[in-house]
Symmetry: C2
Subunit: 327 residues, 2 copies
């Protein structure tokens, strides 16, 4: 396989992405900048992933890496309750990176983009001594009031989360060599949670429409991300540790590595589920929004006056987690 030439790669990427601009995208790759016709309000977020930190070429395929880079960025758009818009991809590639590998990475980005209704509208390719992918994504909403920030949690709200937690952390433990007897399907499910996180775009919009008041994506673990919501909203979040919905296989992996399953689910990052709060009277609407979009809602607790996050065990006693600020 030939090593990558920046110019050739840009040409190959542009051809691969290749859809003619249309709708909001007036001009795509090929000029000094992409040109976009905006409508309503725009959200913008940047996410970087780096080899040796967020992925390894020994355990992640190029497609995994591309998927993960775009998926983690789109998760922020999901957490705003916005419609996904455009993506701009910066690739820093070490000299000698096989061109086929780089193109497969782009294929991984493009496959998720296409499925998510995202146009890859521009980017940059440079040489560097480490493999780093930077993805800037935009999202759109009719008006700022339709977006869900981190600061809208109020005392009395319910706290819910979509899907199941701990899967990405358990998948990483498997990649790191944890020797666990698991059904092959369960094992693959955990690895996929880690390698190809699925941004909860449909659920984010549905929850926003249902009236979610505050929302954040679970990238650093529920405990840490609840802390962000608490701080930005100026409230306390009280969560029942035993209520955390755990992905299939998490309990078995946790047992093998000698960790408590609930704590693994509370502190494991990169699940990219959505943590949200909203008025109790909208409970049914939230549950319906999650169910309709393949992201069933589990209720974790409530918002109270005060500060910080309180985790309770089954008996209502406070649980101390250590070292969970690892985001």
């Amino acid at each position: 396989m030939s090593a990558v030439s920046e110019r050739a790669l840009i040409a190959a990427v542009t051809e691969r992405l290749g859809r003619p601009p249309g709708g909001r995208l007036l001009r795509g790759p090929g000029d000094d900048a992409a040109v976009v016709r905006p409508g309503g309000v725009e959200v913008v977020s940047v996410d970087m992933v780096a080899e040796g930190v967020h992925f390894e070429r020994t355990t992640h395929s190029a497609r995994d890496v591309g998927h993960k880079a775009l998926g983690s960025a789109l998760s922020d758009v999901a957490a705003m309750g916005a419609r996904p818009g455009e993506a701009y991809v910066g690739l820093a590639l070490p000299p000698g990176t096989p061109e086929a590998w780089a193109l497969e990475l782009v294929d991984g980005i493009e496959a998720l983009a296409r499925r998510s209704g995202v146009a890859v509208a521009g980017g940059d390719v440079v040489s560097a001594s480490a493999l780093v992918i930077s993805v800037t994504v935009t999202g759109w909403a009719e008006a700022a009031e339709h977006l869900v920030s981190r600061s809208g949690a109020r005392a009395g709200h319910l706290v819910g989360v979509t899907g199941r937690l701990g899967g990405a952390a358990a998948g990483l433990l498997l990649l790191e060599g944890a020797s666990v007897g698991l059904d092959e399907g369960v094992r693959e499910g955990l690895l996929t949670r880690h390698r190809r996180p699925e941004p909860r775009l449909a659920a984010g919009r549905a929850l926003a429409e249902a009236g979610a008041a505050a929302m954040i994506d679970v990238s650093d673990g529920v405990a840490t991300d609840a802390g962000h919501l608490s701080r930005e909203s100026g409230v306390a979040l009280v969560l029942e540790l035993a209520s955390l919905p755990r992905a299939a296989g998490v309990d078995v992996v946790a047992e093998v590595v000698g960790r408590d399953p609930s704590r693994l689910a509370a502190t494991g990052g990169e699940d990219y589920e959505l943590l949200f709060t909203g008025p109790a009277e909208l409970r049914d609407a939230f549950e319906d929004a999650g169910a309709r979009t393949g992201a069933p809602v589990t209720w974790l607790g409530r918002v109270e006056r005060g500060r910080g996050v309180r985790l309770l065990d089954g008996g209502g006693r406070a649980v101390e987690l250590t070292g969970y600020e690892h985001g």
Copy 2:
């Protein structure tokens, strides 16, 4: 100096940038994504710079690196003739990067942003084995017709360039150790051209308003960038090599390293001047636009039917440049 913690750095950066959102920026750093109220059309461009490729910590201060990362990105906005908008900054930092160094880099970004009317509205900080900065910038225009693409050059147009060329390449030669007796001011001027490229934002807008038909920023050298214009417009560009305006000191540096000054000016990258074409009857308007914005226009040649770039020497003979596709 303490090594950088991602979370602490994000907090410090946010505080440092610190201006409350206003105008188009509805929400800045601190949520899942920035929120922007668009008007007209948006241009978006991504630029990455990497240690060891675009800068060295031995020859570039942290402020230089920050300036360069944002400056090269904004140059694309200038080349579209757009008003600068927001910037989103991704920092990939090796473990052990001194926090003070990272904050000075942010100061370098912020100083140029402030001076350019740009709001740094979001970003990401991650750990990586190489220092890579990714900057996504937006720009705004009332309508797409006000923007200047690379594809508008037509036979009969004049070809002009702003400012002076070869300065960044000569500055790099000085950094690489070329031993040249130069007036200190001239020397500093060349080093600054390389370390702190100045995006031609005002000139880009003025030239767009004056009726520029095609425009590109000179990041890869005039010869290469003229090739981009030629290809995107489907025309030939005929340029007189001797007409290239050379920065003060370029001739002396070129002589010392045994290179032809005109060729150095034609192939040297990173000057971030603007190369443009437009109808001959607007000649005075273009010259006025450049003069008003501190970016005097020099006429380099004309657009003809055909393909490619033809460089002519003083006697009208074709000049072959080798190895200039180094962008």
